[in-house]
Symmetry: C2
Subunit: 336 residues, 2 copies
DNA sequence: GACAATTTTGTAATCGATTACAATCCGGTT
DNA sequence: AACCGGATTGTAATCGATTACAAAATTGTC
């Protein structure tokens, strides 16, 4: 393996000079620079990053922690991460927790061992305090989930408002019995969207009924199964709001299977606006999040923190948007 | 930051001993081991991996190169990669090429700079020779794409046979005019599936017609658009085989939009068997690949190569399976 | 041409864990 | 008690690039 000393020897300079040419580039006469560069090319010298990393105390690598890469929502975020990272010469380590709390915690240790310089959490199952503690010791940015009252660097949408707006849309269409299929209630994001649901009902003076709120786990089948429960009620909802698109599609399956129609009998709204929305029939109305952008901005923020730059803002709320498609319509005339 | 010397001091041993306790664990008396471990815990010592990496000349990290993480097929493979890697204490760097040849090449350099110990390519746009050259210098495993006649470590399915079987299924149902929507023809995988198409037609003495073969780019819209072209033929096909599910779904959209029915008017088969297949209507018949398993085995192979273990086989062909669903049926009675 | 100011280059310490090699310890044997 | 062999521990070199500091070279000024 050819090292920096070989280059130095060939160019008849010291290793310091070679290093200078290859990094800062300042304070080297163009004559010697050329000589060094020629040697570098001739020997096909590639600096050993392991050595460089040790000396600089940085791995130039960050970790992206997501609950499940297989989910198109998160894979888009990842892409945002990667593009910024690349731009600044950083690499992205893949951290898929498979929704395990343990693994989430393990990843925090990687920073302490200097395997990575920082962390982006696109999932937050860990207790707030633990995350807060970590964020004070090491560079961490939270993507997707906003933690009320904690000053942790965050990029997210306003999930409460997004939830409220989705439900208000249904109310505006005349619906009064509105079912909600939520994700696991131990993740903040789910709680926030339920909060939005409450707000919408309260604003419109519609009484809240516990049975109309069902907990799923973000999977298609959980959407299917919880929808069956809602349909089994003596007085089933005329509209359903699911906190992600997969569950919404599962719900649609259940509705159709019971011989009912979407949206004529029951309206459905999803969340995330993944490509799937345009592929099912009828096409699914959904709340769109700027997922790529969230990833992009979160990584920008993380790298700023790593470089100890001053942050203008350390909490960014991005806009969401209700994408109207074909799964919502006026409430069927009530048969009083 | 607490280092190994601090631990050594506290435990009143040398750094060598501390290191021994933390790694090999052999040849250390239990008395001193306990003492060291106590110090490690008390000081919350975390070894600095950067130093360790330099000394051991290994980053304990590998890179997974995929064309597009957003594609559920590749994200599943990634998960397979990650699970094996984790098991052996390795990390996975995310390499998304966005189908760019340049980036694919850049990633090879990362090994030379020792940023990663090895590479898994789940895409192979680079010329065969270049990949072969790389594989002789550094640990590389090819996932998904099998290169004829080159002895490069590979995990894949038999794309030729898979393509042939899909088309034969259509022929068995009575179809004789069978359209093919293929992925970009510069990737081996596409070529192989087309080869299978040819074989099936030849075996059944059906003449091959160039216009029936259309090139897409794996996207839904490309499937939609190429299907429109097929439908515009004077004598359109009664069945279509797409080399991935997204294009198949795009084709279904086009068919329905023209007022035709799937499968009654036109049968459709996709490839990959991603979850989407079960969500569209009618549910899509597709060739299933063991994607997680491919990732899993490819990573096992790569780690073996890195550790310079003897490989029993360095080319693995995994089984595929035609998943019958609702998009194929007998050819509509020909109106002669 | 002498001297100061500045630029360019070199020397050697440094990052922190690992490990080859040397030293020491300990129990058993004669 | 002397000695041996194996187990345990310590010393110091090592990985290869970076960089603080020192030295040398160059430029400019009078």
């Amino acid at each position: 393996m050819v090292g920096i000393v070989d280059v130095a020897k060939m160019a008849k300079v010291s290793t310091a000079t070679v290093s200078r040419v290859l990094s800062n580039n300042m304070n080297v006469s163009s004559k010697t620079r050329d000589r060094v560069l020629k040697a570098v090319n001739q020997l096909e010298y590639k600096p050993n990053r392991l050595a460089s990393n040790l000396r600089k105390m940085s791995s130039k690598t960050v970790m992206a922690v997501v609950p499940d890469i297989t989910n198109p929502f998160f894979s888009s975020i990842l892409q945002g991460f990667k593009d910024v990272a690349l731009e600044f010469g950083y690499h992205v380590l893949l951290g898929d927790t498979g929704n395990s709390l343990e693994q989430e915690r393990d990843y925090i240790n990687l920073v302490k061992e200097r395997v990575v310089d920082g962390l982006i959490l696109a999932t937050a199952r860990l207790p707030k305090e633990e995350i807060l503690a970590a964020s004070q010791e090491i560079p961490v940015v939270l993507a997707c989930e906003y933690m009320d009252g904690f000053d942790i660097p965050t990029v997210s949408i306003d999930n409460v408002s997004a939830g409220r707006e989705a439900v208000e849309h249904l109310i505006r269409l005349g619906h009064r019995r509105i079912g909600m299929i939520t994700g696991p209630l131990d993740v903040i994001l789910s709680k926030d969207r339920v909060k939005g649901y409450y707000q919408a009902l309260n604003l419109n003076e519609i009484p809240i009924e516990g049975v109309l709120i069902q907990e799923g786990n973000f999977s298609v089948t959980s959407g299917y199964e919880t929808m069956l429960k809602l349909l089994a009620l003596k007085d089933p909802p005329t509209a359903v709001f699911a906190t992600n698109d997969e569950m919404a599609v599962g719900a649609m399956k259940a509705i159709k299977q019971r011989g009912l129609q979407v949206p004529n009998d029951i309206s459905v709204i999803g969340f995330d606006d993944i490509p799937l929305c345009g592929l099912v029939e009828p096409e699914l109305t959904s709340v769109s999040q700027p997922r790529y952008d969230m990833g992009y901005q979160a990584m920008q923020m993380l790298l700023s923190i790593i470089k100890k730059e001053e942050l203008t803002r350390n909490q960014i709320v991005l806009p969401h948007r209700l994408m109207l498609r074909d799964t919502c319509c006026k409430r069927p005339s009530p048969m009083l």
